[in-house]
C-alpha cells in the first residue's frame, strides 16, 4: 500500500494504458447497467406515474410496497434470479444463467422499484398543482399521466440517475447470476471484489476510482443533455 496517492496514480495509469481487458469490463458494466436502467424506466415511470396521479383503494399499500422494495437486498434478488434461471429452475431451458442478460434481469428487478417510487413522489407533487386544471379541461386518465410525465421530465432524469447509481455500484446480485466469468460476465464491481479477495487491495481501490470516474462521466453527460433540453424548452 502506497497510500491514496498511489491508488490515484494507479487508477490514472489504468485509464491511460487503456488495457483491452479493462475496456471490455467497463463496456460490460455500462451496457448491463444502462440496459437495466432503461428497462426499469420503461416499467417504473408509467407505474410510478399511475400510482402517483390517481386515487384508488389500496393506494397507501401500493406506496408502502414501492418504498419498501427500494430496499431489496441485492444478494436476495441474485439468489431468486439464480433459482429461476438455474438449469433445474423454471426458466432453465432459456440457458440465461451466467450471461450478461441474467445480470440485466437481476439489476432491472433492483432498479425498477427505485424508479417507480421516486417517480410516484415527483408525479404526485406535480399532480396537486395541476389537479384543478385537469378537472376543468376534462383531461382523460391517459393524457393526464402523459402530461404529468412530460412536465416532470427534468426531475425524472434525476430519478433515472438514482437508479443508475444503484445499478452501477451493485455487486451482490450480478456476482451470483453472472458468476464473474473472465471475458464473459466480469464487470467493474465483480472485478473489484475479485482483486480484493486476491489481496490486491491497491488495484481494487484503483478500479474503484475508475468506476467512480465512469459514474461521473455518465452523470455529467445526463446533466449536459438536461441543460440543453431546458434551454430549448425556454427558447
Amino acid at each position: 500500500m502506497n497510500g491514496f496517492s498511489g491508488v490515484l496514480g494507479q487508477a490514472f495509469g489504468l485509464i491511460l494504458a487503456w488495457d483491452a481487458d479493462l475496456v471490455a469490463i467497463i463496456g460490460l458494466s455500462l451496457r448491463v447497467t444502462l440496459s437495466a436502467v432503461v428497462i426499469a424506466c420503461l416499467v417504473g415511470l408509467p407505474l410510478g406515474a399511475v400510482v402517483g396521479a390517481f386515487r384508488f383503494p389500496g393506494r397507501v399499500l401500493a406506496d408502502l410496497l414501492l418504498n419498501a422494495l427500494m430496499g431489496l437486498p441485492p444478494v436476495v434478488v441474485g439468489l431468486l434470479v439464480y433459482l429461476m434461471l438455474s438449469a433445474s429452475g423454471p426458466l432453465g431451458p432459456l440457458a440465461l444463467l451466467y450471461t450478461p442478460t441474467a445480470m440485466i434481469v437481476a439489476q432491472t428487478i433492483l432498479v425498477t422499484p427505485i424508479i417507480a417510487a421516486l417517480t410516484r413522489q415527483a408525479i404526485r407533487d406535480l399532480d396537486r398543482e395541476y389537479d384543478e386544471q385537469f378537472q376543468s379541461l376534462g383531461v382523460g386518465p391517459v393524457a393526464r399521466v402523459a402530461a404529468l410525465l412530460w412536465d416532470a421530465r427534468f426531475s425524472l432524469l434525476t430519478v433515472a440517475l438514482a437508479g443508475f447509481g444503484r445499478a452501477v455500484a451493485e455487486v451482490g446480485a450480478v456476482l451470483i447470476v453472472g458468476g464473474n466469468i473472465n471475458h464473459v460476465t466480469r464487470m467493474m464491481t465483480t472485478a473489484i471484489a475479485l482483486e480484493t479477495s486476491k489481496g490486491n487491495l491497491q488495484l481494487a481501490l484503483a478500479l474503484g476510482v475508475v468506476l467512480l470516474a465512469l459514474a461521473l462521466v455518465v452523470n455529467a453527460a445526463v446533466m449536459a443533455v438536461r441543460g440543453l433540453a431546458v434551454r430549448a424548452a425556454h427558447a
Binding site: S35, S86, G89, T101, V184, G199, N200
Partner: protein, 276 residues
C-alpha cells in the same frame, strides 16, 4: 416530437447493443466449470486454460466459488464440470447421480498462517492438531472460513482431531468470516489472527502484512483436488462431449505437466497426481 424519437432510438440502440452479448463467444463451443476460489485466485486457470483452448478450440468459463457452493450449483445442473477439493463431498455428489465419476487431479497442502509475533507460540510446529489446541488454549484469534468450503471442511476436521469445540468459542477468539479464502486472509492480516489456508492461495496472496506461515508439513494437511463430469443423464443440458474432453485433457500427460509448470516466485503451487 423529433427529440422524443431521437431519445427512443437511443434507448433502442442501447437495448440492441446488449442483445447479442450472451451468444457472442459461443461459436467455438464453451463449457462451464464450477470450481473453487483457490484455483482461480492462485492464477492456475489463467495458466492452463489458454493451453487447453489453443489445443481444442474449446473456451472454458470458470465460476469460482467455495467448494460447497460449487457442488450445489453443479447439482442444480449449472455447470458441465466440477473441479473442487473436498473428496468425501465429491464422492457423495457422484453417489447421488449428479456426477459421472471422480478423478484425482492434483494436490497441494494447507498451511496455518499467523502473525509474526506468534501469540500462541506455534511457529515451527508440524503437528497441526496440536498447534490448533495450543491456539485455543492461548485464546489467540483464529479466522475461520465458516463457509462450508473445502478449506473450511478440512479446518473443522483438524479441530475435531485437536479435541477443541470451536462452536462454543464462536464470536470470541474463533471468528467465522463466512467468506472466501482471500477475504478471510484479509481479515486475519488485519486483526492479527491465525488462519488455515491452502498454500497456493497463500503464496499468491497480495496483502500478507506481517502474517507468515506458522505451521506446515503435517501429512493430514494434504489437500487433494478432484475433477468430475456432471452427469448428462441427470442434467440433459450438460455438454458431455466437450466436458469430457476437458476432463481427459486435465488428466492427460499434457494437462498434468501444464499444472506442474505453474509457479509463482519459483514455487510450484500444485502437484499433479492423476492416476493413469
Amino acid at each position: 416530437m423529433t427529440r422524443r424519437r431521437r431519445l427512443l432510438s437511443l434507448f433502442a440502440s442501447v437495448l440492441f447493443a446488449t442483445a447479442p452479448l450472451g451468444t457472442a463467444r459461443a461459436e467455438g463451443g464453451f463449457i462451464l466449470v464450477q470450481s473453487t476460489t483457490s484455483t482461480q485466485n492462485s492464477g492456475l486457470f489463467e495458466h492452463i486454460l489458454p493451453l487447453f483452448q489453443a489445443e481444442t478450440g474449446i473456451e472454458v468459463r470458470v465460476v469460482a466459488v467455495g467448494t460447497g457452493q460449487a457442488i450445489r450449483n453443479a447439482a442444480n445442473g449449472d455447470g458441465d464440470v466440477l473441479f473442487v477439493h473436498a473428496k468425501s463431498a465429491e464422492e457423495k455428489f457422484v453417489a447421488a447421480g449428479d456426477g459421472v465419476a471422480r478423478f484425482d487431479v492434483m494436490y497441494n497442502d494447507f498451511v496455518i498462517v499467523g502473525p509474526a509475533s506468534d501469540p500462541a507460540g506455534v511457529a515451527g510446529m508440524s503437528d497441526a492438531a496440536a498447534a490448533l489446541a495450543r491456539i485455543a488454549q492461548a485464546g489467540a484469534l483464529f479466522a475461520s472460513r465458516g463457509d462450508d468450503s473445502g478449506t473450511h471442511k478440512a479446518e473443522l476436521a483438524l479441530w475435531a482431531t485437536s479435541g477443541v469445540d470451536v462452536s462454543a468459542a464462536s464470536g470470541t477468539w474463533y471468528r467465522e468470516t463466512g467468506s472466501g479464502m482471500g477475504a478471510t486472509l484479509n481479515v486475519a492480516a488485519a486483526i492479527g489472527a491465525y488462519a488455515l489456508s491452502d498454500r497456493a492461495t497463500w503464496i499468491s496472496f497480495g496483502n500478507k502484512r506481517d502474517t507468515t506461515i506458522a505451521v506446515q508439513g503435517d501429512p493430514v494437511m494434504f489437500n487433494q483436488y478432484g475433477i468430475i463430469l456432471v452427469n448428462p443423464e441427470k442434467h440433459p443440458n450438460v455438454k458431455a462431449q466437450l466436458g469430457q474432453q476437458f476432463v481427459d485433457w486435465v488428466l492427460s500427460e499434457t494437462g498434468q505437466s501444464a499444472i506442474a509448470s505453474y509457479s509463482i516466485d519459483g514455487q510450484q503451487l500444485f502437484f499433479p497426481n492423476a492416476q493413469r
